[in-house]
Every structure is written in structure tokens, then in C-alpha cells.
Symmetry: C2
Amino acid sequence: MEKSDKKGIDIISIGDELLIGQVLNTNASWMAEALNKKALSVNRIIAISDTWQAITDALHDSMATAKLVLVTGGLGPTKDDLTKDTICDFFGSKLVLNQEVLDYVKDFFAKRGRELTESNKKQAMLPDNCEIVKNSQGTAPGMHFEKQGTHFVFMPGVPFEMKSIMTEWVIPYFSNLCKVKPSAQRTVLTSGMGESFLADKIADWENALPDNTSLAYLPSPGRVRLRITVKSEYQSQADSQLQKHIDDLQKIIPSLIYGYDDDLLEKTVGNMLKDAGKTISTAESCTGGMIAEKLTSIAGSSSYFKGSVVAYANEIKSNILGIDSNIIEEKGAVSYEVACAMATGVRKIMNTDIAVATTGIAGPTGGTVDKPVGTIWIAVADENGVSAKKYQFGNQRQRNINWSVQTALNSIRKALL
Amino acid sequence: MEKSDKKGIDIISIGDELLIGQVLNTNASWMAEALNKKALSVNRIIAISDTWQAITDALHDSMATAKLVLVTGGLGPTKDDLTKDTICDFFGSKLVLNQEVLDYVKDFFAKRGRELTESNKKQAMLPDNCEIVKNSQGTAPGMHFEKQGTHFVFMPGVPFEMKSIMTEWVIPYFSNLCKVKPSAQRTVLTSGMGESFLADKIADWENALPDNTSLAYLPSPGRVRLRITVKSEYQSQADSQLQKHIDDLQKIIPSLIYGYDDDLLEKTVGNMLKDAGKTISTAESCTGGMIAEKLTSIAGSSSYFKGSVVAYANEIKSNILGIDSNIIEEKGAVSYEVACAMATGVRKIMNTDIAVATTGIAGPTGGTVDKPVGTIWIAVADENGVSAKKYQFGNQRQRNINWSVQTALNSIRKALL
């Protein structure tokens, strides 16, 4: 019996480790992203405990509204999983030995030269009234049930096993089941202006957006992401309308936009350096190497990134970066002069086209009346000379570091524009 | 009317960005962890869309079973938030201007030398039938309602604002409301042995654990965390039993344990350096500055961390770290000899007691038959000399970097033991 008012997808993640905050629910996030890319709409993501009651309640709840319920967790070989017994109660199944799966499990272990344990054999005991979904990456297969017009797929919680079942079976199989109304979505990534100033600057554009278009502000230290969604009767209409909104926005804030969707500022900067055939180095005090770490997180960065000096102690600033210790003494390590000298110093010793430097008081201690915690100088040196700018962030150490890193990356971007 | 069968806490996270997998639900994870530490038990974590229907349904659902419902998101200054209107409908409230909050918002902006916008003023429009909860870090206050015996607290989604409301008000206020059965929990943090080898090594200890004790393995690159939970009728019993299990475990794997619960390896290493009165520097190739970044993420690290050279290009390895370029030519940049020379080089130029160096092929390209992607050398130099060890990690760039960083930090720890 198909119920037509059910729609969308619920993701249920089973695991006490989620409810005590020991691990982040990266599985659900990955699934949501993969589904969204295929225009499959997620209603809810629900993390629950690994108990009969919690699992049963969640399956009932989701069956009332969702067209498809994706469940992960509780199917591993270890002794803490109740999931299978709970599933049998919910769907009225009996566990029976599935010879095909047992053969697969035996073969899986044999190929890897590993011994088959009793707990591994248990994985071939499966409900007698479900469709078995192949797990090409592991030994616990997926299970597909249908009840009261709702589809249920149970998958193991091991990320790469879940991902392979999602990619190889779930997404192809269900991609016609939960199609949302044609929509186009893009996230415009900005850096260099805070949320409320940005909102004021683009207010006219935002107020002129039609009813079928929604806008969300997603701020984080040093960046504001603008997610624009257009729904329409036809895909081509949604696409072209979205493009027009973005073109209009681009005219208002051309230099603030560094990318779209999943683009990373460090990747944008890397591409700009590559295109310009330029090399870069960094001299970092308060950011402690994090700018270098971000730049080198991009595959292929060795073609433009040469190196970095993390100069935490003042003696490193003078001995390695060659800064006159009198300047450090007179102006203080957190100053315009030292930031500039760090940038020119590292640019010289690493022989790069461009260099960025940071010096500041990340906190929680070390602030003064003149230079409170959160005071950060960021300098950029290139063939045109050097300049530095002072920023006043907040009083939280990690946030100040993150903010400085994003701002420094954005300063490189602006210098390359 | 108090319903006695309601129990525990539901966390509701509002935001479309969660349902399309654009951001991880770090807020809910942080909240769950903070609540768990005070023995406040979380039933469910639910991520929902920013719509009237989804919010209303979720509030109804949670009111049926939970004693306390914590809601985050949808309270920012921009106009994408329906949350407040939905709240008013659910609790039968009217929005009224709260003069005290308006004064606070004005003052908040004045102190930071920023201009008050119209959208900021809107934050002082609040439901007339709730308790206003102070937000010491931002302008959107929290709201506390009670309905049908369930408490509801609404907080902004900005992490540090939510965290301050949780820490300053929610946790103290509710810490007596949802107490679970006496239990004691501790997570033992290990580094230096993979999960299955560790499981074999502690198998006798694990098999002897009584029924009221549970053990979970939580592996991540370079580390395995062991979470031990003991439930008992009396707190003192649970505590002492837990301590005995940990004491026994400690005897089996003394040198693998680097800390407990939230301890960070970089903090353990920092404390060991401080206690020994020793200084450290790093020379990083494949880790790109991340070891330095981890070490300097700890407040007070300037007392033992002097600096780092990120030597990505070979010319930096020779020009700044002083490595004979013939050695690089002959042995290759990823070699025992270069790893050792990097560690001794940086130790010398930064004049530190100890130094660690990394050189490897993070990937995705650059591997050869002899040195495939994932080949990493890690060297430690101190007053006793220098030595390096080769590791073979996987084929994923970021995972190789993370693995190298944890392993390097653990190598420092072992050198300091």
C-alpha cells in the first residue's frame, strides 16, 4: 500500500558515541550531501541510541512521514549490536543463514589472508524477508525492506562500506523516488566583510529576490557564505534564474567573492598563484604554521608553495628572518614594522614572488591595554613592496587563529587580483 | 502539569545546511559532550529544515518524550529566520520589544565601535511569555519556555554564543533535571599501536570485564581511544570499579597511554616539555606546518615551542636547514638521511633541545615503486643524537598528513618518556 503523502528521506544514525559527543556524525553529512547532489531531499537527520526502544521508536516515527529511511550503524561484527534483532521484531522477520553471503564472507577473508571468526560468520545470518544489498567493501551486507509504503535500507556504520553501498546501490535505485521540484542551488563564498555589513551592502539585491528564491547567510570566522536556492517548474528556468541572481550579485561585490560551493580559499589562492606562475612563502607567528598547513593541504601545492618559517620566539624572528632586534625591542613583536619585516624577510630567504606574515596576540594571555588579546597584524610582500593591516578579532585563541588564517589567505588573494 | 514518564534531552538543530551536508553538526556534538560530562543524558539529536512545518513537528515530537529540548539555529540577525515566528505560534506568544535587550544590543555594538543596523535591532523583539536567557557573547538572547512539563531552550546557532549560553546557564540550571543511573566513564587515549594489534594485546583484560562494564574502540589516524563505562547502583562503586579497570589496563600498555578523555596529544607533549624545561622546533615537509600548528594551538606553548621551518621545496631544505644538496640528490628527499638531517638542522638553527622532522609522499601523486604514496619518514633529534623511522600509511592525502602529525607528536612523547 503506497501512501502518497509521504515524502523525502530520513537518515537515522545509530550509535551512543554520537549522543555523548564523542564523534561527529560525518556519515550522515556525507549521505546528505550525496543525496542533495542528485536532488534527493532529506527531511531529517536523527541520531539515536543503540537500544531496542530507541531504534523501534525511530523506525515508527520515520515510517509515518518519510518515503525512504536510510539507517546506518549497529551492523558490525562486534558484540554490541542489537540492531538486527530489533529489525526482525519491526519487520516480523526471522534470522536465517544466507549461504550466498556466507560464501562471500569466507571468500572476502580468504582473499585477504585473514582467518574467519565466529563473529564474522554471524554476519551471514540475515532476515528472511528483505532484499540483500551487496557490500563490496566489507562483510556486513545492506538490507532493503518495504513497509506501509516506506522503503528502509540498513547499512553498516563503517564509512567506506556505507559509502560504497550508497554509491553503488541506494542512489541509483532511489534517484527517481523522491525527486523534489526542479531547483538550482549555489553557494557564493565571500571573504573580507562581516555578515551584517555584507547584509546592508546587498540589501537592495536581496529585497528584490522573487518568492521562488531563498537566501541563507552562513557565517564563519573570516568568511560569509551566501546560499541561493531557486525553485521552478522547469530545471532550465531555475538554472538561468539562479545564474542571473549570481551575475547581479557579482556586480555589487566583485572583489569579495572568492569562489562557489565547496571551493576552498586556499585552493582559490593556489590556482591564482599557479595561473600567475608565482611562488609563495609564509612567516607565521600567531598562526603557528596553519597558513602553510592550509596551502599545502591542496594536492599539487608544491608547484607554488616553497616553504614557511614559523617564528614563535623573537630570536627566530631575528636569527632566521633577519629582523633587526632593535625594531622588535622598540616597536614590539606585534607591530606594523615587525609584520612587514617578517614578510620581506621570508620572501627574501625563500626567494619567492609573494610572502604573507602574521604576528599577533592569540590569547588567552599576553594582551595589554594598547594591544589587547585579538590584535593581529597581517603583512603581504611582493614585487611592489610590502604593506600590513591591523585587525582586532575576539578573545578566543582558536577563533583568533582561524580568523587570522582566513584573513591572511584573503590578503594573498587580494594582492593577486 | 508535570509528566513523570518524560526523560532525557532532545537536541534539535535547525538549518538546511545540515540537511544538504554542507556543514557538519558540530554544535550538537559539542552540546552532547558537555551534557554527557554532567551525566545529563541525550535521547536524540535531530537536524531539521528551517521551515514552519519542520520546526513545529519537531517541537511536538520532542515534547511527547523529552524532559528538556535544546534548540539551536535560526536566531541570527539576517532575515532567513522563521524560527521566532514559529516559536510564537507554538507557545502562543506575541513578539514585543524588550527594552533591556535593546539597551544591551546597543551597548554591545557601541563597545566594539560598530554601527547598529536595523536587523540588529530586530533581535530585541522577543516572545512575551518566555524567560530571556542572557547571551554574553552576542546579541541574540536565549529563550526558555515550559510547556506540558517539558522545558525548551532556544539558542543562536553561532557556536561560541551557543557555548556560552550552555556553559553559563543551561548546564547549571538543568544539571539536576535529567540525572541518569550512577555511572562512571573514562576514555583511555592510546597512540603507537593499531586497533587490531591493541585488541589482541588487551584481550585477556577485555574478556574479564564484568557485565556492568562496557568497552568501545574508537580508532582514528594514529590513535585508538578506549571508552570504558561502568554502571552501578552507587556512584562510589562505579567510580572505584572504573579506576580498578584503568589501573589494570595501565599495567598492560603503560607506554601507549598518552592521556584520558579530552586530553590532546599536543597538550600532553607540551606539558612534558614544560616539566622537563625543554624547548622544541619542527622541520616539516609533507606535514606542511601542521605539527607546529597543533603544538601552538595550546595556550602557553610559547614557553617551549620556538619555531618551525616548513621546507617544502628542496632548495629550502638545503638553503635554510643546511642539508647537503648531494644527500638530497643521492638519497632522495624522502629518505632516512634527509629526515635525520632536517631534524638536526632545525634543532641547530633554532637552538632547541629537541626537534622533530617529517618528509614523505602525502599523495595523490609523486609515488614510485620504491616509495609509494603514503611513505613517510619521521625523525627525532635530541641531545642523545638523531634517529628516524619509516611509516607506510595509505593513499589519501589528508589522512596521510593527519597520520604523520599524530605519529610525529607521539615520537616526541616517546623521546621524552
